[in-house]
Symmetry: C2
Subunit: 338 residues, 2 copies
């Protein structure tokens, strides 16, 4: 007889903060590059191509003492049934015995770990005196990106929100994004000092920025190479399917480009098209190698750096392990005999 | 907010009977052959080759309205910790919306669905007047094999237990296997009429039998071709890893051989070595095709038939769906908000 802890959305939101996500994501990248975390082959199935699909991502992470998997399904017809299009469910197991440990709603984990990914990229690859961040894309992820960056990079004093396709949307979303960012920061004991502003002109916001995060649904590049000044760091979050690209290939051709998983970056990430076009024959390395000190990362103040975050199972597994530990300590979740 | 039903060993044992397993397994095979059930690529990882590994088997089954997965880990060092070597956990999702539905302990499902597999093979491929069954191998699975056969094939009047390597073991195990078989039959409303006997001589028991089930840990063949009379049906359960073989290749060379999944039978099943040796170039078909009436199955009373059961994800998924339905109706399991 084993016991498994079932951890729902509300309990996850109580214990999983921006700073917890930053630590989890950093440990995931480090584990992958140290060879103490492994990503196993992904299972992908299309129930109805373009309308419903599913993936199962799995792996193990020695530093967290667990292995696990995340199942994510997407059904576009769920909206008609007043159901979310996406369902995410994670299972976590003891790496020493194989015993099941926890079942978690992966939904509230994903936004925090994705925001943290962009920020960890900036922490290791941006200039140390970075003052200005532009977030390209004003969607649901925006506060998670802003809060993770502000919690990680204390030198930031300005955040611009911008939306290249619908410039007016940045101003519309400003109040909501600011409030959500402040709530996320407050939950981990931070108070925001940087200003958050809407920028109608994406070109000038990017041009002013030391750090750029891209998190759009764009299929064609929205960030032009001419906008990006020397010394900028760009963390790319949005490209997660073949053919998607948010940043002109010329930016990556000018940059030292790091990824979370080289094969996945070339298959489905921001690097896919520049690689196929021949302007990005290889990555400078994986971010985990920079975290471990095995790769230099940024080598000059004038260098442009890029982090291509495609999302790896270890981010979810490390995050789930942090949540499980916190829920065990606080007696949260429902423990069920199985 | 979704709700997931967590179903543990005790509740599974209340609702999952031999007859429920037989129906589930038959629907799984039929669904696979009809193309309304799909098996997705297996994830396999060795933590410590020969000492600890894991697999994730997944797929969908339209007739049950679900998709799902089963994670099975094996750690041989668990015995030192007074823990089971194997842990099995299943997750079930709604095929129409993707919503998570149930988490189940897969352990108590596996024995029933494996016993049912052998019996469904015999139901479709043995002679209709089969009187005698020999079970080769006296392990944990033995009562599940006996009960499933007796529940499916009412003409049986004799069951022999036999153990080629340690002939005395059959007599040692007889009382326990008989009691367990009767309990399994009683749970689904059957009363046993057939005799269950221990057979010290495997050769003569197999030679007398119309149906043979093999469920041993043997790596080299224990059932000789010379023992097997014309008209016999053999369901092979034990071979589940490359290099394992329970029945001499010459038996399969003489037989109409069906499998649960052709590719898996040739990769890891009883068919692997005969296929590699060239004596079994192709299967007669998959059992699902016989169930659907697309393949003839047995074509004469003198024909030897073989069913190679390697175990497919759909057996577990169909079984889990049957269990979930029963638990929903009876209010069993723990419903957790996630």
């Amino acid at each position: 007889m084993s016991a498994i802890r079932v951890i729902g959305r509300e309990d996850i939101q109580k214990v999983f903060t921006v700073t917890a996500a930053l630590r989890a994501v950093e440990s995931a990248y480090a584990g992958k590059s140290a060879g103490t975390g492994r990503v196993w082959p992904m299972v992908f199935h299309e129930f109805d191509p373009g309308h419903a699909d599913l993936d199962i991502k799995s792996g193990d992470l020695e530093s967290a003492g667990v292995y696990g998997l995340k199942v994510v399904s997407w059904y576009d017809s769920n909206a008609e049934k007043a159901l979310p299009a996406l369902f995410g469910t994670s299972l976590l197991f003891d790496l020493v015995t194989g015993e099941p440990k926890a079942l978690l709603n992966a939904g509230p984990i994903t936004a925090l770990r994705t925001g943290a990914a962009a920020a960890v990229g900036a922490k290791y690859l941006a200039r140390k005196d970075a003052k200005t961040l532009t977030i390209v894309g004003c969607g649901e992820l925006c506060p998670y990106l802003a809060a993770a960056a502000l919690a990680t990079i204390p030198s930031l004093n300005t955040v611009y929100l911008t939306n290249p396709h619908r410039p007016e949307k940045a101003a519309e979303r400003l109040a909501a994004v600011t409030a959500a960012t402040d709530a996320l920061l407050k939950a981990c004991g931070h108070a925001r000092t940087a200003a958050i502003n809407a920028a109608a002109d994406a070109a000038s916001a990017v041009g002013e920025s030391d750090i750029v995060f891209t998190a759009t649904c764009a299929k064609a590049p929205v960030v032009k190479s001419a906008w990006v000044k020397p010394g900028t760091h760009v963390s790319c979050i949005g490209a997660d399917l073949p053919g998607k690209q948010e940043v002109e290939s010329a930016v990556l051709a000018r940059a030292a480009v790091y990824g979370d998983d080289t094969a996945q970056c070339f298959a489905v990430g921001e690097c896919e098209l520049p690689h196929k076009e021949g302007v990005l024959p290889a990555l400078a390395g994986e971010l985990g190698e920079v975290i471990l000190g095995e790769k230099a990362g940024r080598t000059s103040d004038a260098e442009i750096t890029v982090f291509d975050s495609t999302g790896i199972a270890l981010q979810d597994i490390a995050s789930a392990a942090v949540i499980l530990n916190a829920c065990e300590k606080q007696g949260l979740g429902t423990v069920c005999e199985i």
